[in-house]
């Protein structure tokens, strides 16, 4: 971990100069599981302008941006303080995260093409949104992903090979969600936003100052569950951040088929702030998510972050984007590539030398190799796995059918033995 929460915690202890008024609420609460209920009482984290104001009619809403596509650092009075302590090493770490995540993703796509995976949902183009937000989380926060959050999983310390089991067809999950506070991938669109809300209600009941973050896409924003999660989180003031990666396309349907208003503005109707951030700007995503998580920790309830980004590839490997969108659109977004822009910034500010990039290239190749080998070595599950973990307390019918299955399997062995 390069840019972890320690910077935010240090700032927290020092009063977080420049962001808010009184911040006594979150000072010194980094372990935070007990005795923190009083810390949920203050409501002081000011909603930045972009979050408070709706866009003018006809104008594109403003994006929070700290790094231009050319890699130039731009000032932002509202959010600069959330990345004030960032070091060149931190920046290199963010870059490394994005490069390795992209390499992992490319390897998985290739493995699908080679028949090693049944399906893959690529995150190509969304690295900044995922790494920026993922690195803003603290170890005790809880993450509820959809099925494309490979970069967030990376930030949470989930071994990337664990993500491939469900796509290879050997399981429907593949990791213990409580090991890294990273929930299993949810395939039904938007369902996990309610799980995040309920979990966050539990966090608040426990008096902890952890926060919860739920990922979903622009397509999921049309789902009733997402609307219900906004309602529930608002009325219970749940410490949850809704992180919508608006990658412009829900399979073949553009965002205009989901909404007539910019998505972040939906939050206003539920009574909490929404903000649109440049989803290809890792620094801005880091800053805005830190702000939103801090609001959650301070007892100020939910926030909607819309990361405005682009899915460079297909929805999944089953999809053919050439049927519904033109090359020029992708080319326009390639110019805003999240990795390229941070590289430009690192080079222009002399924060990274050629050796760093070469080393990273070698590390990427090693990761690709490791993933490839791990997938090919992944064993098929035991036949009896069908009957395992259907129930925690057991079930007579499952027991009966397992026994029938065993007898049926054994009948083949007997037949073979008879020859």
């Amino acid at each position: 971990m390069t840019v972890d929460s320690s910077a935010a915690r240090k700032r927290s202890a020092a009063g977080k100069a420049g962001t808010t008024g009184s911040k006594a609420g979150s000072a010194g609460t980094e372990s935070g599981a007990t005795g923190a209920s009083a810390k949920r009482t203050t409501s002081t984290t000011r909603a930045p302008r972009a979050a408070r104001a709706g866009a003018k009619k006809g104008a594109e809403p403003e994006l929070v941006q700290l790094l231009t596509p050319e890699g130039k650092r731009v000032k932002n009075a509202e959010y600069d303080s959330y990345v004030a302590g960032i070091t060149p090493e931190d920046l290199r770490g963010l870059y490394r995260d994005m490069v390795l995540t992209r390499r992992f993703d490319a390897e998985a796509t290739a493995l699908q093409r080679q028949g090693e995976l049944g399906l893959w949902a690529s995150l190509l183009g969304q690295e900044a949104a995922q790494i920026g937000s993922g690195r803003a989380t603290r170890a005790d926060d809880y993450v509820f992903p959809t099925y494309r959050e490979h970069g967030v999983a990376w930030c949470r310390g989930v071994d990337p090979t664990n993500l491939l089991g469900m796509f290879r067809g050997v399981n429907n999950g593949g990791w213990d969600p409580n090991s890294n506070n990273f929930h299993l991938y949810t395939i039904v669109i938007g369902s996990q936003t309610l799980h995040a809300t309920g979990y966050a209600m539990g966090v608040a009941k426990d008096g902890a100052d952890s926060a919860v973050i739920a990922y979903f896409g622009d397509g999921a924003s049309s789902q009733g569950d997402v609307a219900e999660s906004f309602t529930f989180s608002a009325v219970y003031n749940a410490p949850v951040v809704f992180f919508c990666q608006n990658n412009q396309w829900a399979i073949s349907e553009p965002t205009e088929k989901q909404t007539r208003v910019p998505l972040y503005q939906r939050a206003q109707g539920y009574g909490f702030p929404g903000v649109r951030v440049d989803g290809n700007d890792v620094l801005a995503c880091l800053a805005v998510t830190r702000w939103a998580l801090e609001r959650a920790r301070n007892g100020e309830g939910p926030t909607l972050v819309e990361a405005f980004t682009y899915r460079m590839g297909a929805h999944t490997t089953s999809d053919d984007p050439s049927r519904y969108r033109g090359d020029e659109e992708r080319q326009a977004w390639e110019a805003k590539d999240p990795i390229l822009r941070l590289r430009r910034h690192l080079e222009a500010s002399n924060h990274a030398d050629e050796g760093f990039f070469e080393e990273l290239e070698a590390e990427s190749e090693a990761l690709g190799k490791r993933v490839r080998e791990a997938v090919r070595a992944m064993p098929d599950p035991d036949h009896f796995a069908i009957f395992e973990n259907v129930y925690a307390d057991g079930h007579a019918l499952v027991d009966e059918e397992r026994a029938q299955f065993a007898a049926y399997q054994a009948s083949f062995a007997d037949a073979e033995g008879g020859h």
Partner: protein
């Protein structure tokens, strides 16, 4: 301590006991707090346990169940109320795609101790969506357990057991029996949650039912006894898993089986019982397993529900048909 009480009160007492015993138990739903639920099943709980444990929710069933899943992931044991049977469908997605599968999906790492209470069934003259019996839709889904008490004592104990279960339990409350009283012994040793009971012994035919139809079947057996017929009555109590052993034992004795439920017969739990009992008891049966239940039609308006619901005569008619083989 044995005390005579109505089923609604027994469930209330049971929730109270669970709330006292475990601070992680929560009650959630529409109107469960100040109002005490539309049937007053949660009456007085919010006053005693506070609004952070007895949680009035927005009117959003998917939200209720989805948030309960999140609370369970955090270590809580939510008991959620769906106000009426026909309102569970907005939550059906969360129950089927998430609640039922989370344990398997996590390879056993995650447990889902969530109870979904659903007042169900007809006979109270209600409007559309307030009288349905959708238990088969839930029993069909692996990962869910489905139970339905028929009397106050079972309602009390089965709720305790459902809350203690690490699996999601869909707890169907027969609303027309809410006001029926029975002796509830809070110090008794209860039967296991998924064990069927013989509630009346007989030798000529077995009647199998659960929830609201158990009382009817006992009335049928009493009426049949006047005609010199000896009917055995089973209270199945659990729809998933179903206790086929108790049914088999009874059918091997009586050689005839009639299954009674309010839900439509077509693809209902009676069909499953008939098929399995035919497999298990083929050489014992003197007649095909017969079913009495609702028709393949939307639950009718209240003025027609007496025609739709199984009653004494319809069940007796099935008994006669079975005995005529």
């Amino acid at each position: 301590m044995a005390e005579k009480m109505a089923m609604a009160k027994a469930i209330n007492e049971s929730l109270r006991r669970a709330l006292e015993a475990d601070p992680k138990v929560l009650v959630m739903g529409e109107d469960v707090g100040k109002l005490g639920g539309v049937f007053r099943v949660t009456d007085g709980l919010q006053k005693d346990f506070g609004d952070s444990r007895i949680i009035d929710t927005p009117l959003a069933e998917s939200g209720i169940v989805g948030a309960a899943i999140g609370l369970a992931l955090r270590g809580y044991r939510p008991v959620v109320e769906i106000q009426f049977d026909g309102f569970v469908f907005p939550a059906y997605d969360q129950i089927v795609t998430q609640l039922a599968k989370m344990h398997a999906r996590s390879l056993g790492k995650v447990k889902m101790p969530v109870v979904v209470r659903i007042p169900y069934g007809g006979g109270i003259g209600a409007v559309e969506h307030h009288s349905e019996s959708p238990e088969a839709l839930f029993a069909h889904v692996a990962g869910l357990k489905v139970v339905s008490p028929s009397n106050a004592s079972d309602a009390y104990w089965m709720m305790q057991q459902a809350i203690q279960s690490d699996d999601p339990v869909i707890y169907f409350e027969p609303k027309r029996r809410y006001w029926d009283k029975a002796e509830v012994d809070s110090e008794a040793i209860p039967a296991p949650l998924h064990k069927a009971q013989v509630v009346r012994e007989g030798t000529d035919l077995t009647l199998a039912a659960y929830g609201p139809m158990v009382k009817l079947c006992q009335e049928v057996a009493a009426a049949a006894a006047e005609e010199g017929k000896s009917l055995e009555v089973l209270d199945l109590r659990s729809v998933s898993p179903l206790d086929f052993d108790v049914i088999q034992t009874s059918v091997e004795k009586t050689r005839r089986l009639v299954v009674v439920h309010e839900a439509p017969v077509f693809f209902g739990s009676g069909g499953e019982i008939a098929a399995r009992i035919t497999e298990r008891c083929f050489y014992h049966l003197e007649a095909p397993v017969l079913r009495v239940g609702g028709y393949h039609a939307p639950y009718p308006p209240a003025r027609l529900e007496e025609e739709y619901l199984p009653d004494l005569d319809r069940v007796l008619d099935a008994v006669d048909r079975s005995l005529a083989y």
